[in-house]
Subunit: 336 residues, 2 copies
């Protein structure tokens, strides 16, 4: 089955390539008769336009780049699903890149994307990137960028987030109302925007409820290998916490493990709430109280915003800050 191209169709029909091209796109300059002829033959020969030839000429790729830390993670996986659904609806293609939370990788990926491979990028910043020059360069090169979850605050681009501060505040208040006097906040990479605001919410709730918050009430646990021992040490200490609020899903299973090892009863002796999109949350024992982000919706919103920016036809200023509320799902792990 020889590949058929526009010239082939033109030859077959004894008309010019330009006419074929126009006919396929329903140009008003072409007679109905010709359009029908062309389309019929294209259908018959299973003509598929070469995407890159068109991209090159039109300087439009109809593809976006998705740059995220990882995807074996319920949150990112669901965000991605949301993006993908909207992308398919709009006939866009999605290139996906994982930074593995590595700044250098993120830099090289974004640098590569400056060159016209994509029209826009949906980005969630790696946990250890601090400076943002590579992102600036990308935008400078004319690529639209939409942020989600881990955003670059200094940019004027669209940002999709959840109400990190409020969700964290509410989760903390919940712990306090269930009787916690010494909640511990465990988190990661506090220079990120999302975790930063979650911490603020935690701290503010403690203050508002007159808990004498100390420095060691907030624990930044970036290194996987020490999480368990660190947590164990704290839970064995004399002034141990009576509740834990985790800002990230990746820390949500450790307390179970440590409690089991140390014979600490949850929730009686230790109440626990975690940000999480884990499906199994309600099957843990005790079932995990979660702050869950509307990941799928966030993905859809990010994609929708990006396409709106790319297809400038729709007037109206694009929504810059799009905040989706997270919901606190109370289960057994936090109840008195």
């Amino acid at each position: 089955m020889a590949k058929i191209d526009i010239k082939g169709l033109a030859r077959e029909l004894n008309i010019s390539a330009s006419t074929v091209s126009r006919a396929l796109r329903d140009s008003h300059e072409i007679s109905k008769a010709t359009i029908d002829k062309v389309k019929a033959l294209a259908e018959k020969l299973n003509y598929q336009p070469h995407p890159y030839a068109g991209s090159l000429r039109k300087n439009k790729t109809k593809t976006i780049g998705i740059v995220v830390p990882e995807v074996s993670n319920n949150f990112f996986a669901k965000v991605f699903s949301g993006i993908e659904v909207v992308a398919q609806e709009n006939n866009y293609h999605a290139l996906i890149y994982l930074t593995h939370d590595d700044y250098d990788k993120e830099k090289s990926i974004l640098r590569h994307l400056e060159s016209g491979r994509v029209d826009g990028v949906i980005l969630s910043i790696a946990s250890n990137t601090v400076d943002h020059q590579h992102i600036e360069a990308l935008i400078e090169a004319g690529i639209q960028v939409v942020f989600f979850d881990r955003i670059g605050e200094s940019f004027s681009s669209t940002k999709i987030t959840t109400d990190d501060y409020n969700s964290a505040y509410k989760a903390t208040v919940h712990l306090i109302e269930q009787g916690c006097k010494k909640p511990l906040h465990i988190t990661r990479f506090l220079h990120q925007t999302n975790t930063k605001y979650r911490k603020k919410g935690f701290v503010q709730a403690c203050k508002d409820y007159h808990l004498p918050i100390a420095d060691n009430w907030v624990l930044e646990l970036n290194d996987n290998v020490v999480v368990e021992s660190t947590l164990a040490d704290i839970l064995k200490s004399k002034d141990k916490p009576d509740g834990i609020f985790s800002a990230v899903e990746t820390l949500s299973l450790y307390p179970y493990k440590v409690c089991k090892d140390l014979g600490i009863k949850m929730p009686e002796q230790l109440k626990f709430v975690s940000f999480s999109n884990m499906d199994a949350a309600s099957f843990l024992v005790p079932a995990l109280t979660t702050v869950t982000q509307p990941a799928f919706e966030i993905g859809k919103a990010a994609a929708a915003s990006l396409f709106q920016l790319l297809e400038k036809k729709k007037r109206g200023v694009p929504i810059i800050d799009n905040i989706f509320p997270s919901t606190l799902i109370v289960r057994e792990s936090s109840l008195k």
Copy 2:
């Protein structure tokens, strides 16, 4: 910052575009001096080649398509991670498409990929596709295809799977050895290759251990909304099973739910083993005994095979059937 292209570099250096092109690729036809000059300027001006121009000319895209049912699923997410790692190592780009287990979507995606957007495709077939013409057409169009997990047996392409039959056999034997006399096999979409062989393994194990296997020992549960009630009915019946072996991760939480609702004690009254890549498996109560597939390795192998096919330089017949063993991880849910 105006975009710089090869012609721009050429003009700047008073040499021809072809020389620049060759210099950038370290052609032996170009003097060391010129090469250095060109590269220095390219570096200075942050030259990035336009990917699609090159693809068009060379008829090589350096991008692959990944077509999978979904990605909010631990198995597929990890496979994808594996693919992505190898892709980045080889400087390939990955377009990802989700079929959402929909045959029509899969058909239209593959049809689109015939047109030269990718060099090859890594595919795991949607659960409800029965005929394979769209895949044949893709291969016919000159696109290399590598299958994993849900494969097309009739194709001579590379296939990456796990030892479905043996793993299922072993898991079933494990249940029997723990005392099960009436194991129930729950599964989905038995026309798929993977589930088909898992069922065979289950059946054979029952036979080998002289259990009088009946038709209702295998239950195909394709519709999410009836899973719970169906399972409940069975577990309430007089000749209820004393063990369950699930062939798919997506069914691995239902038994917990139903047991809780019906007051059935697991594992005392009902033992349970499931195929699963869930991180939380050991945190469920009782901790879930799993057959876990080396998802990340499968992804890496799929990508590696594909790239080997694409870069024909490496001689030697490519490995056609690549079978990765799964491991049975015994936890509490299946112990007597």
